[in-house]
Structure formats: structure tokens, C-alpha cells
């Protein structure tokens, strides 16, 4: 019988650190192949429709950037927090608050907008996300309440708040009581960057966030403190790094970026405030952050990949009549395989029975 054993490596493998995300993608595709086959579809055609076809047109590539934008914005912020062991799970809520605050500005100045309106909305959006993230930061630093729970629970509060607003104050007065706001005026909408697509200014923000996140983590002393706190809190205490400050900083930063992402959605592709403004970007960003190895550049790539899963999922719904859940299935498989293959960073696979671990028959005889 062939045995597979895990053998500890002396040192974490740098190569595997970058290879396992690729391996996870390959395994996800393989599992998808089997899944489609089991469901009675032609697996090759289905995978083509899901993963390749959206990339064959300019419009498709543009949609990829549109979907990746909120994911990357949220994930860059989350990853910085995760590096410091600050587990903000509530980006979805901060995203929503960004849309509420920034979109609220657009509605408040409806009809009076000028060049100043969009910058004001951007600031308000980021501030809304920060304010929402400040609640878990306060509860964590003051009462030592787990930010995992508080930030997650606040997401549902945020969604209900949005629902309340679009059914009340934000509702379009000429909208026949539909729970939607007015369409934003020209001055409140993100300018389009590439003609013929929906790629908007938010994508530029996402790229700036990637660059800023990299500089912060790789070059600044604050980034160094974040790393040390995440790796070895005791050493951070020894060195005199203020952990509460870092908790505030990382939560405000990730909340602010998530809020910005929310604003970019309502002021970008959506163009108004609706009861549902996100297909779960804030949660998917958690997968993006880990798939990208918590590294800003990795996150950019992972964000594009995840965006593809959204677009491909839509294409599969339309083209093959698959249920909406297919997107979640692929995202879940990807995270699952990534976590599973991560073991290869510290362990290597050995095949066969040959090796030092052999049960001592003689020793058992003595013991008996």
C-alpha cells in the first residue's frame, strides 16, 4: 500500500508560499470539472463559459476591473489588520456605511452639485466606514470584546440601517414608493476611465490602495510594528509598541477603505442607493486577502481572480442555467483548497513506506 506522509520541513518554504495559491486554483478547476460533469454539463464548455469567455471581450475585461475594485479596496485594508491579528470580519458593514454616508451626501446636495461634490462624497464614504469600524475598535480596546464578533454583528445592523433608509428618508420622492433613491446627478457619479467600459475612478483608488498598502507594510515603521504585533505580541510589548494604537489604526484603515469601496459602488456602477448594493464584497474580500497572502500585490491578483468568479458565475447562470449559488461554491472551494494546501509550506509530502518512522516491533515485545 502506498503511503503518503507529511514530513516537516526545516524551514518554511518560500516557493510554496507563492505556489500554493496557484495549486489551489488548479485544484478548484479540477473539482469544478468533476462537479460540472456530475451535474450533466459538458465540463470543458462549462469551465470555458465560467472562466475564459468573460475575458475575451473588452467589455468583459472592463467588468473584471469593476468587480475587482471593491474587492481589492476592502481586502488591502483587511489584510493590514490581519497582519496585526486584528480580525475585522465586518468589511461588508463598513462598505454599507460608506455607501450610506457618501451616498447621503449626494442626495443631500441633489441638484446643487459642483466639482466639489464627488470629493466630499469620497471623504464622507471613507469616514462612514471608519466610524462603523471605530465601534469594534472601541469595544476591543476598552472592554477587550472580540472584534471578530462585534464587527460581524454590526454588518447586519448596517444592512438593516440601509434598508430603513431606502424605505424612508433616502427614498426617491418620484419613485412610486419603490425602495430606491434617486439616480445620482452627473456631478455625483464616478467618471469613467476607459471609454466603452464601466471602469471608473474607483479602480484607480484600488491601485493607489495597493501601492499605499505596500509602502505601509514594507517600508514604514508602523508597518513593522503591525508585523511584530501579529507575529509575536510579547515582543511588541517588549519593544514598546502600543498595541491599542495599532488596533485603532488598522480598524480605521480597513473600515475607511471598505467605506470608500461602498461609496465607489453606489457612485459608480450602481448610480443610486438600493436595498442591496453588494453581492457580499466585504466577505469575499476576506478570501481575497488570504488568497493574496495578505500582500497588496497578491491581493490585486486574487481580487481579479475572485472578480472572475463573480462574472463567470453570472455567465454560468445565464448561459447554462446554473443556480446563483455556483459563485459561492467556487469561492468556497478556492478558500478550502488554499487552506488545505497551506500545509505544504511547512511540510513536504513523502510517498511510500520507506522512512525513519517504523513501528518498533521488538520494543513492543519488551513492553509486553
Amino acid at each position: 500500500m502506498a503511503l503518503i506522509r507529511l514530513e516537516p520541513r526545516g524551514q518554511a518554504s518560500q516557493a510554496m508560499l507563492y505556489l500554493t495559491p496557484v495549486l489551489a486554483v488548479v485544484l478548484t478547476l479540477a473539482a469544478g470539472f468533476l462537479l460540472f460533469a456530475a451535474l450533466g454539463f459538458d465540463p470543458v464548455a462549462a469551465l470555458y463559459a465560467f472562466f475564459i469567455e468573460p475575458l475575451t471581450t473588452t467589455r468583459g475585461l472592463g467588468e473584471l476591473a469593476v468587480k475587482a475594485t471593491p474587492l481589492v479596496l476592502c481586502a488591502v485594508g483587511l489584510a493590514i489588520g490581519f497582519r496585526a491579528n486584528v480580525w475585522n470580519i465586518g468589511a461588508e458593514g463598513q462598505f454599507t456605511l460608506g455607501a450610506i454616508a457618501g451616498g447621503g451626501v449626494a442626495l443631500a446636495f441633489y441638484g446643487e452639485g459642483g466639482w466639489w461634490l464627488l470629493p466630499l462624497m469620497v471623504v464622507a464614504g471613507a469616514a462612514g466606514g471608519m466610524a462603523w469600524a471605530a465601534i469594534p475598535a472601541f469595544l476591543r480596546t476598552r472592554f477587550n470584546a472580540s472584534e471578530i464578533l462585534t464587527s460581524l454583528m454590526l454588518t447586519y445592523v448596517a444592512l438593516l440601517l440601509l434598508s430603513l433608509l431606502v424605505n424612508g428618508p433616502y427614498r426617491d420622492p418620484d419613485g412610486y414608493s419603490f425602495p430606491e433613491s434617486r439616480l445620482f446627478e452627473e456631478a455625483a457619479v464616478m467618471p469613467i476611465l476607459i471609454e466603452g467600459t464601466r471602469v471608473h475612478l474607483g479602480s484607480l483608488f484600488a491601485l493607489l490602495a495597493v501601492a499605499g498598502g505596500w509602502v505601509l507594510m514594507a517600508r514604514t515603521f508602523v508597518g513593522f510594528q503591525i508585523k511584530v504585533i501579529g507575529l509575536t505580541p510579547m515582543a511588541a510589548g517588549y519593544a514598546g509598541f502600543d498595541q491599542k494604537r495599532i488596533i485603532w489604526l488598522t480598524l480605521l484603515l480597513s473600515g475607511g477603505l471598505a467605506g470608500l469601496a461602498g461609496l465607489c459602488e453606489v457612485a459608480g456602477p450602481i448610480g443610486q442607493i438600493m436595498p442591496s448594493i453588494s453581492p457580499g464584497y466585504g466577505f469575499t474580500a476576506i478570501i481575497v486577502a488570504f488568497l493574496g497572502r495578505l500582500h497588496p500585490v497578491g491581493i490585486l491578483l486574487a481580487g481579479l481572480l475572485m472578480a472572475l468568479s463573480f462574472i463567470g458565475g453570472e455567465a454560468a447562470q445565464i448561459g447554462l442555467g446554473l443556480p446563483k449559488a455556483i459563485t459561492g461554491v467556487f469561492q468556497g472551494m478556492l478558500l478550502f483548497f488554499l487552506l488545505a494546501t497551506d500545509v505544504l509550506i511547512r511540510y513536504r509530502l513523502r510517498f511510500g513506506t520507506k522512512g525513519p518512522v517504523v513501528k518498533g516491533v521488538a520494543a513492543k515485545g519488551v513492553a509486553a
Binding site: 526545516g10 524551514q11 517600508r219 514604514t220 515603521f221 508602523v222 508597518g223 513593522f224 508585523k227 511584530v228 507575529l231 509575536t232 510579547m234 515582543a235 510589548g237 517588549y238 519593544a239 514598546g240 509598541f241 502600543d242 525513519p356 518512522v357 517504523v358 513501528k359 518498533g360 516491533v361 521488538a362 520494543a363 513492543k364 515485545g365 519488551v366 513492553a367
Partner: protein
């Protein structure tokens, strides 16, 4: 006696790791009822050898005979079934579980918890290893954790007991008591394989010694016929340099003053400091002795700033009240600090030596400018440390965890000393560090003091304190004794103080009884 089989015999045991031959054709014979010392510097292969005996690792080649029969020890469970017990230098305990639960996890048939707790209490009392079975391990000091490991082994009535540096956390009196226990165990026929850097102890306790160097057996001797110096030289293969000391040139006002320092903690198992007072002047080394868990961790944290003190005046550096300041501000004033735990507190295991140079170096060396890390400067700072303190490593890119204990400690001490502090506070400067590195560290501390800095050393190693200190004080149950000039005291006197025989009130004695 002679026709009795050897308890354990190793023949030509070889074990290699990627890039390193840890054991090279090692032969070792352990007789029933003998106390056998295994000597060698860090990295000589002692740990690998005993781990193979205990089944944690497996030899590449060679034979192991247990009581005359060849065996392969697949894992520690099997080793325990054979009758091999081991007390590790690094503890394998679960922080969130109690002492009893931890011990139960190491036993094949723990039985009911209440009965086990009773047995633990009995054994720990019998061997003088004060231990409360109900306490959670996270609240225990280093010394107390080791007691858990020792008791866990003793509960299993081993026929071969491997002890890796067991006495580093005991008072001389307790050590004597432990030696009585070990000798009693040996006289009952149990073999003891004893690993220690304390050569005097080996001379006092062991019947035979095997010396390892670079993975090979380089000699065997009767330690009683050797001096500590000749044993050390056998170990390192060259002549040993003794730290040089000039009489203290104590100068000026106290650099560190502690007055009425009392602490309370949310942790019910922490030792509160009670009205601690001390002062250290420039040029002087003050040694603080004491058994682990008597308030050392709390004192060090209160001095480093990791725990702030309610009354700012209770800790003064150069006359300035600092009790309310954190570690960063205290460092800026002139403090440098070497913590007890080098990996995981004094250094970040996963980060490079460059990054670890930055860890505390940022406060006094110009390594950060405008919020940006000056990586070039951090690198050259790390290289300066490596060069000045002879740190054996691949270079400034090496991860901290890749260094041996002694080399990492040289690096950390170098990092602190090269910041040219006015005041250096050091916890356990040479715990688990080999003789060569220890001598270098001692010399560096003495040189720093000679240069005018005040040095405070907290250690459980009395030999070390007697080598280093100008004055010695003792911590017991959170109280600090008056300090005595080193040349006017003796190991015995300090040992008695470590056992609590100083102005102990009735209340303290009650506490001492409850603590047992």
C-alpha cells in the same frame, strides 16, 4: 552486578539533518543505577541524542539496546512504556489547562482527576517541588512549569530518567534536595542521564560523564576527578577565558532607584511585588537572586515599562520618575532591557536579524527617519552586533529562530549594549547558554558596567551572580531583601534567603504554606 545487562546501550548512532550531522557514530553505555552526565556545548548534539532515546527523533543508523535487547523507539509513548522518562528543557505544556490536566495528558492511564491531583501533591511534596495541582499552566513561572515536567516523569516510576538542565530554576538548597532525590532514585536502580551546563553540579552528582563535541563522543571521564574548568575545556576543546573584573568604580547618583514599589495584577496567580526598594549606581552590577515565580517577571516588567506602575515616583531613572512611562519612553531616557524569554519576547522568531535589530534598536539608534524604516542602517546595525559579539549565524538575513540559544542571546545582549544605555536590566542572561557564550556575555556585562553604566541582573543561577555582581539581593514572595556586597556573603547565606529566611512575617509564612 557486572553480568547484569546494561540499562541502555547505544552503538554507532548517527543522525543527520539537512546540512548538519547532529550525531556521528555515537556510542554510549548507561548502567543500572548510575547517574551519567552528558556534556557538550549547545549544538554538540546532546539534545538530538536524548530525543532519539526518548523516541522523538529516529536515528538514521545505529543500534539501541534496552536492557540487552535491541529496540526501536517509535515515539515517546513507547519510550514511556519501556520505562524511559524525560524532563525537557523546553516545556511541552498546554497553557490553558491545569497542572493536573497537563500531567494527565502525559500519562497512559491517568485515572480519576481527584486521585491524580492527590498523587501529584504527594510526589511534589516528597521531592520538594512546590506545586498546586489546580493552577493553570499559563499562570506559572518558568521554574514552576519545569516542576510540572519533573513531577510528570516521577509519577511514571521510570527506570531511565533523562534530565535536561533540571536545576537551572532551583535554589542551592532545593538543588541539594533534588540531588538527594536523584541519588535515592539511582540507589533504587533507576538510571539517570543528566544534562547540565553547571559543571560543579555534575561534579557533585554524577558518577560518569560522556562529552560530546560536534556530534561526536570526544571523551569520557569521572567528573569527580576533574575540575569545573577542565570539564569546560573538554567541552569546548580550547582553553576557557574567565571574565576579568576590576573592583567596581561606583560613581555618582543612583542611575536606577526603586522605592516602595508594589504591584497588583488582574492575574490571580501573579506574584505581587511588596514594597520593593533598590538602587543601582553607575559602574555597578546589582544581582537579584531568587527561585522562579517569586516576583522576577513582575519586577522585570515594572522596570522595563511593560507593566506601568501606579505611582510614577516608585521607579526613577537618573532621578526622573518613570513609573507611568512605557518601554519606548524609558528606552529614550537611557534604559536597555534583555528579557528572560529570548525567543518570543526578546526576538521575533520569524523575522531576520536585521528586523530584530530594529525591534528595540529603533529607540536609541537612528534606524527610523520620518516614519520610514532605514533598512540599510538596520542591516549594518545587525552586522555590527554580529561582528562585535561573535554571533555565529549565516548573516543579517537569518531568521532569529535559526540561531542557537547562546548565539541568539549574544545577539540580543549585543543589541542592547550597543545602544550605549545608561542602565541595563537583564533577566537570566545565560539560561541554557553554553559555557563559551556565557563567558562572553558575562564579560560584556562587566565591560558595560566598567564603562559607567548601571547594570541590574536578575538570575536564578547563583554561580553567575557571584561572578558578576558587586551586590546581591534576593526576591522571595514579592519582597526584596537588603542587598549585600558579594564579597561579604556566601552561596549558603543567599540560598537561605532564597528559601525565604529574611524578615518573614507570619503572614508571609501562611502564604508560603498555602502556596504549596
Amino acid at each position: 552486578m557486572t553480568d547484569q545487562p546494561h540499562r541502555l546501550e547505544l552503538r554507532q548512532i548517527t543522525k543527520s539533518f539537512p546540512g548538519c550531522l547532529a550525531n556521528d557514530r555515537v556510542d554510549l553505555v548507561l548502567r543500572p543505577g548510575e547517574i551519567h552526565a552528558l556534556l557538550g556545548e549547545n549544538g554538540a548534539g546532546k539534545s538530538t541524542l536524548v530525543k532519539m532515546i526518548y523516541g522523538v527523533q529516529h536515528p538514521d543508523s545505529g543500534t539501541m539496546l534496552w536492557e540487552g535487547r535491541p529496540v526501536t523507539v517509535a515515539d515517546p509513548n513507547e519510550a514511556r512504556r519501556l520505562g524511559i522518562g524525560m524532563v525537557f528543557q523546553h516545556f511541552s505544556l498546554f497553557d490553558t489547562l491545569t497542572v493536573t490536566e497537563n500531567i494527565a495528558l502525559g500519562l497512559e492511564k491517568p485515572g480519576p482527576m481527584a486521585a491524580l491531583a492527590q498523587r501529584i501533591a504527594t510526589v511534589s511534596e516528597r521531592y520538594g517541588l512546590a506545586l498546586d495541582p489546580q493552577r493553570h499552566v499559563h499562570s506559572l513561572s518558568v521554574g514552576e512549569r519545569q516542576r510540572v515536567e519533573i513531577v510528570r516523569c516521577l509519577l511514571q516510576d521510570p527506570r531511565l530518567l533523562i534530565m535536561d538542565e533540571p536545576t537551572s530554576v532551583l535554589t542551592p538548597q532545593e538543588t541539594t534536595k533534588l540531588f538527594d532525590t536523584l541519588r535515592r532514585l539511582a540507589s533504587e536502580g533507576c538510571t539517570i542521564l543528566y544534562i547540565s551546563h553547571k559543571l560543579e553540579e555534575i561534579r557533585a552528582l554524577c558518577d560518569r560523564a560522556t562529552v560530546l563535541r560536534g556530534g561526536r563522543v570526544v571523551g569520557a571521564c569521572d567528573p569527580k576527578a576533574q575540575t569545573a574548568r577542565s570539564l569546560a575545556e573538554l567541552m569546548i576543546g580550547t582553553e576557557l577565558s574567565t571574565p576579568e573584573r576590576l573592583p567596581a568604580a561606583v560613581s555618582g547618583a543612583p542611575r536606577l532607584e526603586v522605592r516602595h514599589l508594589s504591584t497588583t495584577s488582574d492575574n490571580p496567580f501573579a506574584t505581587s511585588l511588596k514594597d520593593v526598594a533598590l538602587e543601582v549606581r553607575g559602574g555597578e552590577i546589582l544581582g537579584i537572586a531568587g527561585v522562579a515565580g517569586n516576583g522576577q517577571a513582575e519586577l522585570l516588567a515594572a522596570l522595563s515599562g511593560e507593566d506601568k506602575v501606579a505611582d510614577p515616583d516608585s521607579v526613577r531613572i537618573d532621578g526622573r520618575p518613570v513609573g507611568h512611562l512605557g518601554p519606548r519612553e524609558r528606552r529614550t531616557i537611557g534604559l536597555a532591557f534583555v528579557p528572560e524569554e529570548r525567543l518570543g519576547r526578546g526576538a521575533v522568531p520569524e523575522l531576520s536579524l536585521s528586523d530584530n535589530a530594529l525591534l528595540s534598536g529603533y529607540a536609541r539608534a537612528p534606524l527610523v527617519k520620518g516614519g520610514m524604516v532605514q533598512f540599510g542602517r538596520a542591516k549594518s546595525y545587525a552586522e555590527t552586533i554580529i561582528r562585535s559579539f561573535n554571533v555565529v549565524t549565516r548573516g543579517h538575513r537569518a531568521e532569529a529562530r535559526s540561531l542557537s540559544g547562546g548565539n541568539l542571546q549574544k545577539f540580543i545582549i549585543g543589541r542592547e549594549i550597543l545602544q550605549k544605555p545608561d542602565l541595563l536590566v537583564v533577566g537570566q542572561p545565560t539560561w541554557g547558554v553554553d559555557a563559551g557564550a556565557a563567558a562572553a556575555i558575562h564579560q560584556a556585562l562587566i565591560d558595560l558596567a566598567r564603562g559607567g553604566a548601571a547594570v541590574l541582573v536578575v538570575s536564578q543561577d547563583l554561580d553567575e551572580l557571584f561572578v558578576l555582581s558587586d551586590r546581591i539581593a534576593v526576591l522571595f514572595h514579592g519582597r526584596l531583601s537588603e542587598s549585600r556586597p558579594t564579597h561579604r556573603t556566601t552561596v549558603e547565606e543567599i540560598g537561605l534567603l532564597m528559601g525565604g529566611l529574611f524578615n518573614a512575617t507570619t503572614e508571609d509564612e501562611d502564604e508560603a504554606l498555602h502556596a504549596v
